[in-house]
């Protein structure tokens, strides 16, 4: 119970919620508008974060340029995925998208000399003798921390500084997505959710529309990956397993899958659920040892997912009538 009272815990949870909010937003663009069931979204996070890390550590790039390159890489990953698989029938696309992200992770895991392999980014070869990419960024964080100290006093930590940056980005991205929803581009995508023939018969290249949705979503997912990398300072291929994509799916369903504004709410709920379970130090959880409790936490996520789909597929914040989970 002690952990609940520590502000550091809540700040961490809010920070994770912010990162998941951005990540899920990238997924929401694809599903909410285009009805695209992309289950390989985590690959974009992996691509952006590792690209950034490798560029900074091995090639001594400026951090901010590397972050930009990372996001571009995520977009390219989305383009590759879309170009190769969007023409497949729906269920094949979904299965192959999972395979895509697993293969990306696989390659990261097995390319020791490039990505550090299973030991993570600490193992990336570096000319400077140490494998870290956060030096430049830490200065910025400390700078911000100094500025917010007058407002938040002792709560102003490095994490809080990053939290502000992440949520600021999230809000900007949310506003962008809201604007995008009102374009005719979005209208065409919404039409393709229901029928491919009609938009095609009116001159729309349905494939290109879908591809652009996947690329946009992948870019946003890539941004989340950069923030992940900056928060954790170390990358590990095990952090980018398929389960992360399913967390994003949970987030958008919790918020009502077609509503952009539901994503931050879903992210906050999910953040508390996932992080909060870490600190359940009361029975019946105390019957299990800590290793088993880790398994139990994921089981809880599994149960919530199932419950959600069975009983409340419109999420916490969606309306049944609006539901488009056909």
């Amino acid at each position: 119970m002690n952990a609940f009272v520590q502000p550091g815990f809540w700040i961490f949870v809010l920070l994770m919620a912010g990162i998941y909010c951005i990540f899920a937003l990238g997924l929401q663009v694809q599903y909410g508008l285009g009805g695209i069931l992309n289950f390989g979204h985590v690959a974009m996070m992996a691509l952006s974060s590792y690209t950034m890390a490798i560029l900074v550590i091995t090639y001594n790039w400026n951090l901010y340029l590397a972050c930009f390159a990372g996001v571009v890489m995520a977009g390219l990953g989305g383009a590759f995925l879309g170009l190769t698989t969007l023409r497949l029938r729906g269920d094949y696309f979904s299965i192959v998208s999972i395979a895509f992200s697993e293969i990306v992770r696989y390659i990261i895991h097995n390319s020791d000399h490039l990505t550090g392999g299973a030991q993570g980014s600490l193992n990336i070869p570096s000319t400077r003798g140490f494998a870290s990419y956060t030096d430049q960024f830490n200065k910025v964080l400390i700078n911000i921390q100094g500025k917010i100290k007058p407002i938040f006093g002792s709560f102003a930590s490095r994490d809080m500084a990053l939290l502000l940056i992440v949520w600021l980005s999230a809000i900007i991205l949310l506003i962008c997505m809201s604007f995008i929803q009102r374009t005719s581009w979005a209208r065409v995508l919404r039409a393709t959710r229901e029928d491919d023939d009609v938009p095609a018969s009116l001159g729309k290249n349905v494939f290109l529309f879908r591809l652009s949705a996947v690329i946009l979503g992948s870019v946003v997912g890539g941004i989340a990956g950069i923030y992940w990398a900056l928060e954790f300072s170390i990358l590990d291929p095990a952090d980018f397993q398929t389960i992360v994509t399913f967390f994003a799916w949970m987030v958008i369903i919790l918020g009502g899958a077609t509503r952009v504004k539901g994503v931050p709410l879903g992210a906050l709920f999910f953040g508390f659920l996932y992080a909060g379970t870490r600190f359940f130090q009361f029975p019946p959880f105390t019957w299990f040892d800590s290793v088993q409790r880790a398994y139990l936490r994921i089981m809880i996520i599994g149960f919530v997912l199932i419950f959600l789909m069975l009983k409340r597929p419109q999420g916490i914040f969606g309306k049944r009538a609006e539901m488009v989970l056909e």
Partner: protein
């Protein structure tokens, strides 16, 4: 030459195990439109039950295997009764089925970890016994697994082709609504699907465990990708296709490590090879080897 024979044999063994698991997944999809992400975990659980009973409890191997099979069949049926049936009644869409299937897979995997704890297991068979064949040393366990797997597949094939319920299953998978109104007992078909899937999954898991030597709880998940590749390759929903896909990918995966292919592709990349093969086939035949063109998405 010896290497070729060795790899060919490996390919046949891997292929038949993949084929068994893939047929299970394809059948479940064909009849229930459900992508069973828990397939790998079914396999792992089957292997773990069998090894637990035969090693930790000292029960005879055959008995342990039978109990494992029964267990997985029951698991499939229970999940159907609890979840899939409800989703069918609610006319759930692809997304709901996908996510629930993932939830189930997550829960199963964590349960296996919790009950059996991490760490590897091994069947009480002598995997070092080998025999010579055309210059290569083939493990006896591999031969036995290959023979058993082949018999299982042939038996299943005959059953599907000749029996009434087998025909009903194929009719249902072709056109579910038509089959339902023409008097086919839907519940019976569903039950048989989970029973057959249970037999195939449990056996596939046990065979893989035997051939692998030591295995842990990630065994099924590692195979999941090649299994799905095999299913998609053979056109999802088509059991014979899954057979073809499984054997093909098994052979391709193992043969790719042959040194004449640029020194042999490292064996840790086998799943990547499986998917690369699938990708190439899909470029030419987007519906799979045996499929009829369907509208995309």
């Amino acid at each position: 030459m010896a290497e070729f024979v060795q790899l060919l044999f490996n390919g046949l063994v891997t292929g038949s195990i993949l084929a068994m698991a893939a047929v299970g997944v394809s059948l479940v999809y064909g009849v229930l439109r459900l992508v069973n992400f828990a397939a790998g975990d079914f396999m792992t659980l089957g292997a773990f039950i069998a090894v637990f009973l035969s090693i930790s409890k000292g029960l005879p191997l055959i008995f342990s295997v039978i109990v494992a099979i029964l267990g997985i069949c029951l698991l499939g049926l229970a999940l159907d009764w609890l979840l899939w049936k409800r989703l069918r009644e609610n006319k759930a869409g692809t997304l709901a089925l996908f996510l629930v299937a993932t939830g189930v897979a997550l829960i199963l995997r964590q349960s296996i970890l919790m009950i059996f704890s991490s760490g590897s297991r091994k069947f009480a068979i002598n995997e070092t016994a080998t025999f010579g064949f055309l210059g290569a040393q083939i493990a006896t366990s591999q031969l036995i697994v290959l023979l058993l797997a082949t018999s299982a597949i042939i038996t299943l094939g005959l059953f599907m082709a000749k029996s009434t319920i087998g025909k009903d299953m194929r009719a249902f998978s072709d056109n579910a609504s038509l089959a339902a109104v023409s008097g086919i007992n839907v519940n019976k078909v569903v039950r048989y699907v989970w029973i057959i899937n249970g037999i195939l999954s449990a056996l596939a898991g046990i065979f893989q465990g035997m051939v692998q030597g030591r295995f842990d709880s990630t065994m099924g998940w590692t195979l999941l990708l090649p299994i799905f590749a095999a299913v998609v390759l053979g056109t999802i929903g088509d059991a014979y296709g899954a057979l073809l896909g499984g054997m093909t990918l098994g052979l391709v995966m193992e043969m790719s490590t042959w040194h004449i292919f640029f020194g042999g592709i490292p064996s840790s990349y086998k799943p990547v090879v499986a998917f690369a093969t699938l990708g190439i086939v899909l470029l030419v035949k987007p519906e799979g080897l045996l499929g009829v063109k369907a509208r995309s998405i």
